[in-house]
Symmetry: C2
Amino acid sequence: MIKKKDVPYRINLPEDRIPRQWYNLRADMKELPPPMLNPGTLRPITKVEELAPIFCDELCKQELNTTDRYIDIPEAIVDFYKMCRPSPLIRAYCLEEELETPAKIYYKFEGNNTSGSHKLNSAIPQAYYAKEQGLKGLTTETGAGQWGTALSMACAYYKLGLEVFMVKGSYNQKPYRKNIMETFGARITPSPSMTTEVGKKILEAFPDTNGSLGCAISEAIEAAVTGESKRYVLGSVLNQVLLHQSIIGLETKEAMAMCGEYPDVVIGCAGGGSNLGGFIAPYMQDRLTGKAKPYFIAVEPASCPSMTRGKYAYDFCDTGKVTPLAKMYTLGSDFLPAPNHAGGLRYHGMSPILSKLYADGWLDEARSYVQTDVFEAAVRFARCEGLLPAPESSHAIKAAIDEALKCKESGEEKTILFNLTGTGYFDMTAYASFLDGSMGDSVPTDEQLEASFARLPKVD
Amino acid sequence: MIKKKDVPYRINLPEDRIPRQWYNLRADMKELPPPMLNPGTLRPITKVEELAPIFCDELCKQELNTTDRYIDIPEAIVDFYKMCRPSPLIRAYCLEEELETPAKIYYKFEGNNTSGSHKLNSAIPQAYYAKEQGLKGLTTETGAGQWGTALSMACAYYKLGLEVFMVKGSYNQKPYRKNIMETFGARITPSPSMTTEVGKKILEAFPDTNGSLGCAISEAIEAAVTGESKRYVLGSVLNQVLLHQSIIGLETKEAMAMCGEYPDVVIGCAGGGSNLGGFIAPYMQDRLTGKAKPYFIAVEPASCPSMTRGKYAYDFCDTGKVTPLAKMYTLGSDFLPAPNHAGGLRYHGMSPILSKLYADGWLDEARSYVQTDVFEAAVRFARCEGLLPAPESSHAIKAAIDEALKCKESGEEKTILFNLTGTGYFDMTAYASFLDGSMGDSVPTDEQLEASFARLPKVD
């Protein structure tokens, strides 16, 4: 089926249409997500001062701000955003042809910058506010490396020190990710390490461990609070991160409107929720305020199914149990997902905002796929669309393809929109293992999950 | 010095401004480059039939076409170009600030597509014409892998078979490059191989060789002419490739004009000449027709200095001496450059069009840099511009920085324009060796070059 190409392949907003305000979804939620709890007292955290030893002051304010619908983006951040924004919205004409579907498929492409993913959208403001506060440096963790790379770029630009705790498994498997962060001047420590108390404890108990995201978070927080003029920053899960990432959705909605389009289905992959939460935000606003009713799908790996098989409960955000507790869909903070090539989706929890929206039925559906199905979709997509997707993003691609094939079946001309969060240049080992047939699919058993749930902190 | 930001950071032409015609520089040259010679008879090649066993028919016509100033781009190619074009023109505000220069620096960024370089501009038409001719497959060679990746993408799109002979050294050092080409469905053979007669001969003489671009070309041509319904394609040097790459220059000139700018200095890196030739083409037209007089600089690695230290003479394009002879700046077809991380610039010769322009003084200057200086510029650029350049492209960056620093000295507000051909994602080993201080600089001695020149074919 050859369609009339009445909208461009790539819809680029002009630079002067970069949003000047982030959108704070909480201001429109019918019920707010339950507050974070202090890990010592288990009492709700309501004051900036309680978070200020960990996070920059301005970011603490954003974290707790549930009332301001729009928050101004400082001019200096807008300028930095111009390096890579507005990002293109792409009409997937070639994929539509390949699938012979009557559906219209659009994707926002966030991998069009050197860090290769959407993570830069939050790395820039987080580094900016640290600089404004006069701090000397930041600490963070990284799993797959997208967040670490984005933050390295932002810190290089602002000439801020950066220490990255990188999950040891990734550190050993992905030397190039380490190299690129070092190129941007960051210091990389494989986690768990002997440089922190929590790292030492974990290494004592599990000398051969490959580490985990939860464990690297614990180390990075310790390094921040014990360091001089340092703060910790996180690339997902937090309310502030979803706020910054709303720029994806705001641009998308404007670019779609320029084409006279409104999506029937909105799809995003979900690890900690940073891209999904930011991407769907303005469409969720329409849904919450009764203006429209798009159907939302969150896609996660079957090996780490926090929304599809997790519990909605208070849990720690890290393995070392030093962070505040958040009410979220979780597999348990010491749940260790089976090896999976979508490192960015291997997190036990889920953004409290998205968790609440899912629990209340505003976020319509969560679904999971095994990774061989995801890579099959990725290769098919790459060959016709000419774009090599990250394994994480390919979860959304797989769901978009499935939705488009349903339309082929039913004859419906739905408009399907998904977020393509990043590129797969640093995931070639994964592609190779898919192509040579050695890739496996591993899914946790019910018994494993039940055992993990039994260890959840007793709060409610 | 904080400059008034009166033009955008990124200048994106709208999609409907993609050029509809390539520009054929030869039509405006005062004297044409001497013709290619048949390697058997040493007689000038003037007829399509003489090239048709090697190249697709339409491409043979383009190769020999010295008179048509503009050649229409088929609609299907324009549509494919839309995947990544128009590519952005970027005002390097951050680099200008970093250098504290009064100069204005612009660069065209051609790495904004999955193949990561400008090579796609010629891969698309070469695959398209093969498909139109009803061929089953193509063969080619690749060194660093940019060309092989681009061609794999184009062949995947047109569902054409592709066999890539990859220089054995790169094949072993860059497994991810191999993986990405395989993801797009190409078959990769390390060269020299036992699959061709010329490969067997070379392996017999040098069993431990790591191969070379010249040798991989010989194998790819043999595989094409002995295969069924196959042709050979090349990613640089040829007139047809410069023709296709003129799209870079055409877009650049239009985007610069949109900003009210015209460059004083135009800079490109030079290996076989594909990006430089296409990038400067429309500005060279102005120069040849007396409309303007921008200053042109070609930048090459000191380890492979074909323009700065080579001879302008007839030579073979490959090591196996099966190709036609071209008059060009050459280091000798069996010159083996020292290992250098800019694999895309490790070619013994130079485009005959550029060679002629340089010999006649239209191309003003060729200069060379050692790779540690190039990487120093690359890291400095990456940290302030937020873009990880390929080692090849970083040669142009180094020259642009040097020119901007001259302006700082003199106080001149020159407009400096360069082409940033690609990204460095697959070159992290090189960046790592620069950062840890293990990178070396090797430059051929005069004696080595004299010995190589003595082996040039006796033609003139």
